[in-house]
């Protein structure tokens, strides 16, 4: 890349135009000051690589310290999580089951509601209605997660207990998951609306010409055509649900246990990290390193999920 940099002559090398590289009318040689500024700009862009490297290093180094004392197999398969007890145990499965439950409950709310909202906005709403409804939906994304957590604890939990008669305690996976689901609705809705809006009109018109009504067109033509974008939206929703911290830290409880029932309380991976950060464990102690082992697991999980989502988004963007 650096070798070709000097040979470039104009703005057209950006490739967006499809014009030949020597099309440019720009100066053939930049002024010295401009070269410096360009280098600064490039450094700013390169910083993101540094951030990723920083994340990997700052998680990996303490995590390696942890795994020298606790075997990876014990970590991944153990069913008792008690890093701070006199008789410590480092099985991460209780944290994973709690995370899986909150994520599943959140998706059970966010996917149907998000897709329903997206389908309405993309297929049914008149432009004026859409211009009003979409921003209101987006406002939901502006509510801080601390407030969502407080809402789960002070309203949703009691409402489940008193109005629906579900036997939940003060803290429950269920209340946290439901509220987290609502928090994720805008994410799912916005991405899948983009995907549905990108489906060409000709497909809808063809469907209508064959005598389908709007529901049939939406379900049998638009949905399948927008599927990869919709899946990407759902996958991004999964990533957000796995990584969400404050809602579960406030409303899901702190007791790490194998969660078999959503009315139980439980500690998720992020919930554990948040709670652990509140205590004062010595830097370099096994307890402290535990934080990073869980952090590394969280990072790897969301990393894989994000890559899948990005790949799917790219695919649907290129299709039409």
């Amino acid at each position: 890349m650096t070798a070709t940099q000097h040979l470039r002559s104009g703005p057209a090398e950006q490739g967006r135009s499809g014009l030949p590289a020597d099309w440019g009318l720009g100066r053939t040689r930049s002024r010295h000051g401009e070269t410096v500024i360009r280098l600064l700009l490039r450094a700013a862009a390169g910083l993101s690589v540094l951030i990723t490297a920083g994340i990997v290093v700052s998680l990996l180094v303490p995590a390696i310290g942890f795994f020298q004392q606790v075997s990876v197999v014990e970590f991944l398969t153990g069913t008792r999580w008690a890093p701070q007890f006199a008789d410590p145990s480092f099985g991460v499965l209780p944290l994973i089951t709690a995370t899986a439950w909150t994520t599943l409950i959140a998706l059970a709310v966010a996917v149907p509601c998000g897709l329903g909202a997206a389908a309405y906005l993309a297929e049914y709403a008149r432009p004026r209605v859409r211009r009003i409804l979409k921003p209101i939906l987006e406002l939901l994304a502006g509510v801080p997660t601390v407030v969502f957590g407080f809402f789960a604890l002070s309203f949703v939990g009691p409402a489940l207990r008193d109005w629906l008669g579900i036997d939940v305690g003060t803290f429950s996976i269920l209340a946290a998951g439901l509220v987290m689901g609502v928090m994720i609705i805008p994410t799912v809705a916005s991405l899948s609306e983009d995907a549905m809006s990108a489906v060409p009109h000709a497909l809808r018109e063809g469907s209508a010409a064959l005598g389908s009504n709007r529901m049939q067109t939406t379900l049998r033509v638009v949905f399948p055509a927008a599927l990869s974008g919709i899946v990407a939206a759902v996958v991004l929703g999964i990533s957000r649900a796995i990584g969400e911290t404050m809602i579960v830290a406030i409303a899901a409880g702190a007791r790490p246990q194998m969660v078999t029932d959503p009315t139980m309380e439980g500690a998720t991976m992020t919930g554990f990290i948040a709670r652990m950060a509140l205590g004062d464990s010595r830097v370099g102690s096994l307890e402290y390193d535990t934080l990073f082992a869980v952090g590394l697991l969280l990072f790897l999980l969301t990393f894989v999920v994000n890559l899948i989502s990005i790949r799917l988004v790219r695919r649907f963007r290129q299709e039409y």
Binding site: G46, V109, L139, L140, G149, A209
Partner: protein
């Protein structure tokens, strides 16, 4: 019905009288409405229930008093000032860097190079990494340079700046991409250099889009608690933070702290501070949405 259906928003005349009104289709539409309703109803319930819980604590004491062990006297003054310091510093760190990176990627970088494609993938991925991971990055970095007390304004700002940097880069790139090529070509044809073109033509034209993205990113940082929790920001601060090295707490952290307290009075305080924070954030979001809607220029 054939060629006249130019907009999908227009009613399909034939279907409307027959199949559009079949029970199944009606039920489907009701379900779609219901899914929108879930979101809106939750938003309203959240606001109303929090305001009710806050009760009479929504007063000036909340703004002017320091935290206290007695809930009726406590306020969020250091948290509000702390939030201002941290977000101000975050903006100073993240906004110029983000815009610079976006300008490089959008205007100057060779799009076909493998390195730049990886860079883009990396930024997209960074934008979806859980915020708490950025807190771990910040404590890692601060330990590396030997900072003992990690609960300092610059530490918090660093974590939040890294968190929102990808968001700013992505939205700035979209704003730059929306500026038509002809504008750049005209400037270049007049003899301006590429940088002059970027600085005087492209960037000014992209300002509405950039500010929308920046406001949204900063409002996200303002509501974020998880990374700061790791830096130890959940402390009893009874002074006004006054510099980059000052200890701090922020409003989300203060709310989290009060949520944890068993006394009912603190729950009211948490609710009152939540109302304040939500109002600020919704105002910022609304502003960003208004700017975006106003600036949808047709070139």
């Amino acid at each position: 019905m054939t060629a006249t259906t130019t907009s999908r928003a227009q009613a399909l005349p034939i279907g409307q009288h027959s199949r559009e009104r079949s029970p199944g289709a009606t039920l489907f539409l009701v379900l779609l409405w219901a899914s929108l309703l879930v979101a809106f109803a939750t938003l309203v319930t959240l606001l109303v229930s929090t305001i009710i819980e806050a009760g009479d604590r929504l007063d000036s004491t909340l703004l002017t008093e320091y935290p206290s062990s007695r809930p009726e006297e406590a306020g969020a003054r250091p948290a509000i000032l702390g939030s201002l310091w941290v977000i101000g510093t975050t903006a100073v760190l993240a906004v110029p860097l983000g815009i610079a990176a976006a300008v490089h990627l959008e205007e100057f970088a060779d799009r076909h190079s493998r390195f730049n494609r990886l860079l883009e993938l990396n930024i997209q991925n960074l934008s979806a990494i859980p915020s708490i991971i950025y807190g771990m990055l910040a404590i890692g970095t601060l330990s590396l340079i030997g900072v003992q007390n990690k609960n300092i304004v610059i530490g918090g700002a660093l974590a939040l700046a890294l968190l929102i940097l990808p968001v700013i880069i992505i939205s700035t790139r979209e704003a730059l991409r929306a500026v038509p090529r002809e504008q750049r070509q005209a400037s270049l044809a007049l003899g301006a250099t590429e940088l002059q073109t970027t600085w005087r033509v492209t960037l000014p034209a992209a300002v509405p889009g950039i500010s929308t993205g920046t406001i949204l990113a900063l409002s996200r940082a303002l509501g974020e608690a998880a990374p700061l929790l790791l830096l130890g920001a959940l402390v009893f601060i009874s002074f006004d933070p006054n510099g980059l090295l000052s200890g701090f707490t922020t409003m989300p952290i203060q709310i989290f702290g009060w949520t944890n307290s068993p006394q009912a009075g603190f729950r009211e305080l948490a609710a009152a501070a939540s109302v304040l924070l939500v109002v600020i954030l919704l105002a910022m979001n609304a502003l960003a949405i208004i700017i975006r809607n106003r600036s949808q220029r047709r070139w």
